[in-house]
Assembly symmetry: C3
Homo-oligomer: 417 residues x 3
């Protein structure tokens, strides 16, 4: 995963443009992608797909022609969606277009202006402080023109058409944790899920933030009712503990599963209430859709000083952290995928397990005892109202043991989903 982050890091992504396409090309080497191009001007819910932005070069050069700020060094140096400019102006005038982080003088901030035409440069405060007064040549060789918004999907087919969506934003330029790590975890999660045939169909959405999710929602109105659960992945690779932000519903099955798996895993972690600010869970959880979509991060957005700066580079994300995020996702989806409600077909008194070969002496091994207890719990709570996750939580037994008991009872014809 870290290799993927490193490959994607230099590209200049934005909400549209060739940087997004190049990103999806690379991701496509790992999992096959269906790429969608949506024309500028397309109405998507309350929004309109904007003009496509592309940039070839940008710099500030001193009178000697030395580039003191150069887009070629980092895609962060240009204000995202900068309109073209080619002028010479004194530093005093240029300052209004320069963005720095005085509190971190060696870092370059990340800034955009998507819907208000502007141009600008982002640079280190140290760089700015070292600039002598005088005239500078400023040039942004960009185009803002009718084109397309680009997003992609990858689907892992399941046993049922009901879907789980996994969504990550693809619009941030050279920022590793936000969100190349999310893209990498999503991609390797897709590969892992494809190794078995999961119960649910898993749909991975790679789309620019806000406008991309809105575009996907607008173009998938028919599909929405099949989306039963979902997870937005962001900031998936820093060294902080895992953070799960619940869906707007707060008691959606994905919320219960993530809470359970995080608690059962004994990882230190944090579970947060939904807020209508953050990543694309904002769109999936808007009240008209109100999907059961939560968001998994390590340190949440804006929770670390490197957020939206040049310090969020590939060194800031670790293979171990991404592996841990991936593992948690796999654990959670393993529970989600097996979590169903059953009905006890022999609900009057306990069925006689012994004559069905399901009765182990309770003086037996500890795991046999647990399996036995799990059967009694599943039988007791299989009234169509309790899921296996409910059984695990009520009984205190591991979900796996409970699901195994359900399998055995199902095979014996004692319960049905």
């Amino acid at each position: 995963m870290h290799e993927l982050v490193e490959r994607l890091y230099p590209l200049c992504r934005s909400i549209t443009g060739d940087g997004v396409r190049a990103t999806l090309d690379i991701v496509g080497e790992y999992v096959p992608l269906q790429v969608h191009e949506v024309p500028t001007g397309t109405q998507v819910l309350d929004w309109t797909v904007p003009q496509e932005w592309n940039i070839r070069d940008a710099y500030i050069a001193d009178t000697a022609g030395n580039r003191v700020v150069d887009f070629a060094a980092s895609s962060l140096h240009v204000l995202g969606y900068s309109v073209p400019v080619s002028r010479t102006m004194p530093l005093s005038e240029l300052r209004a277009h320069l963005h720095t982080l005085p509190e971190h003088p060696s870092w370059v901030p990340y800034r955009t202006s998507y819907y208000k035409p502007e141009w600008g440069f982002c640079l280190a405060q140290d760089t700015l402080d070292a600039l002598p007064d005088g005239d500078y040549e400023v040039r942004v060789d960009s185009t803002l023109a009718d084109g397309h918004l680009t997003y992609a999907e990858h689907v892992v087919p399941g046993q049922v058409p009901d879907e789980v969506i996994v969504s990550c934003h693809t619009c941030h330029p050279s920022l590793a944790n936000d969100n190349l790590a999310g893209i990498a975890v999503a991609t390797f999660l897709a590969r892992a899920l494809a190794e078995q045939t999961p119960y649910y169909t898993y749909r991975f959405i790679y789309a620019p933030g806000t406008i991309g999710a809105i575009t996907w929602l607008a173009r998938n109105a028919e599909r929405i009712e099949k989306v039963k659960h979902g997870l937005v992945l962001a900031c998936a690779g820093d060294s902080g503990q895992l953070t799960y932000k619940q869906s707007r519903r707060g008691d959606a099955e994905i919320d219960r599963v993530l809470r359970h798996v995080l608690a059962a895993s004994e990882r230190s972690h944090s579970v947060k209430e939904f807020t209508p600010y953050g990543y694309d869970e904002r769109q999936y959880c808007s009240p008209g859709f109100n999907l059961g979509v939560g968001s998994l991060s390590r340190t949440p957005y804006a929770g670390y000083p490197e957020y939206h700066t040049s310090a969020d580079n590939p060194d800031f994300v670790s293979p171990e952290a991404m592996t841990d995020t991936l593992s948690l996702c796999r654990e959670a989806f393993a529970v989600l995928d097996r979590n169903r409600r059953y009905v006890n077909l022999s609900p009057y008194g306990e069925p006689q397990l012994g004559r069905r070969g399901l009765y182990e002496s309770l003086g037996g091994r500890s795991d046999a005892k647990q399996a036995q207890m799990a059967m009694l719990w599943v039988l007791s709570l299989s009234d169509g109202e309790h899921s296996l996750l409910d059984v695990a939580e009520r009984s205190g037994l591991p979900f796996d043991t409970v699901a195994g008991a359900a399998d055995a009872l199902g095979a014996a014809g004692l319960i049905k989903a």
Copy 2:
């Protein structure tokens, strides 16, 4: 307010009679009152309006003609609803009709006997102890005859016919905190509300305790369904912290508003569960009506030693405390009046706030950030099920900010009530 308390203090109020009328005359100088006279014998719910009680004079005089206990000095000296008496009797026989407070020997207690014909005097234990044995002339020059029960209303018209009632009892004689302070706060609250046109219609009820509220309820059967919220004011002027006693429902909107406003105000305060004992919330919250009516006090009834004694005099209530109670009422009604449920008219995805001029850069001023967040919260929770108070509590944002966001979104056509 304190001046009003002082003017009302000397009057001899009871559940009927001229003292109540004189009280309402003075209150009527502050706000116009509609006075109702209900004849003796009128059936009111399970009760009957009793005979009217009036008193001109009452005293105990020694054989030299010195009045040792004199109604002219304090209305508390006579047992409320005393039947007339004019006799001479030895102290030993008189004692059965004398009420004192041995634990507070210099205080005069307050006693009544509304529904059992009796006569009696209340006096300080010290006074009683100083009386030599011997004969005393006792005289109560009262009448108990067919007449009327008197109560009054003042209405502040609102934008809708739905009503908020504010009720205070008018039957206590020379007792300042219980309930002249409540009368004063209610009266000045009415004046403050009249300065704007509130959303709700506010109805102020000045009526004797129990029988007065019952009479009002009996005569307003048609109106009851318009009464959406209410507050009983009592013990509104002592130096103790504010106490809100919840309605019988416990989750009525008035309960949520008072809890929120008290918590947000950072006043030290107390919130109590409903009990079927106290002031006229007993009647408004009886199970047949079950109105959303709570009760606001400072120290609750019987919670201070001066309760129902001559020590509950105008010095016991302070202008500051009454002003604080009034402020809290205004804060609470300001929230109640703006608290509505909205429906997001653009509920699929977030609406694009920018093109409506509602989007402030989040790098902006702190209050602009809060306003922005409040809009996102209002949009997220405007599903017809959450009120603005819910939004404030879920978001942790001030109610005013949330209500302001709702106004802006409403003006932009994005939500409707």
Copy 3:
């Protein structure tokens, strides 16, 4: 009760057989029993009534003819449901059929094999250790043949046909706490209830564990809907604190009553959630029936080292503990029996208690004050949704006071059940 335990202790009970019949004969001396005999092979829910097991003699004898293990000394010495055997074999071969408790070398364990044909002996580890190698004669003179399963009922008729069941298992041989103490408490509880005419009809069920309860449920399908509440009694005589295990519902009336009575009694005690393992609450609470049946014990099953060993003898249970269990049952049923929902017939405002002689001056005695408050609470909450237990819990008043207030208000025609 302890005498009854001592009389029953020597009998060899099992899930069928003459030991059960002898037990019921003795219990029948205390309360009249209706004894039911259900033939082998009868289908009962998912189970089949097994063959009847009877045993006359069993021993292990050395070559000199000395009985080193003798069924006559304790019914525990034989594996329950042992098939007949009559052989001579070396100790080395015999060991596979011997059960001991190495951690308690002087105690004899209790073991059974109901549904898998086996034979075996239980003995003290000390006894086993003292046996020299060599041949032993082993003999189990038992029969396993078509016969009957035996259970009994005793009914205390009530004012209504709705029933409370009290169930205790009768299948354990010489074990005092589990469950002769439960049988004894149930029996004396039945006698105590018969002294008055209770509201509910109380049905006492004496049946072997699991198969007995299942048989009763199978044969009483028509009756089940009349069973409103129930209690399983087990481990009722040890010195530990009382433990109430809630029904599967968790909020059944029996659960609320037991929680309330245990808390109000100020006994140290424990309340546990339902688990689908334990005694016959497993069957009564299976999801098809889901009855409001809890289980009352002192130390729960398997919670004490003497459990299922020869150390669970009559010395292990104390008269005081059984009396305490009995008292708690009587307190709980006294509440259950009076706990009803009322409707206030005068719900608009408070009814005038004074003219009905129900109004005590609140300056009166403390218990009169409580009675007065209880009336106000009952009137306030008699909306058909709150039971008297709700009133007691909301008001903090003793249940008896609340029930007394309800009686007085009912007599005055102010409320009805």
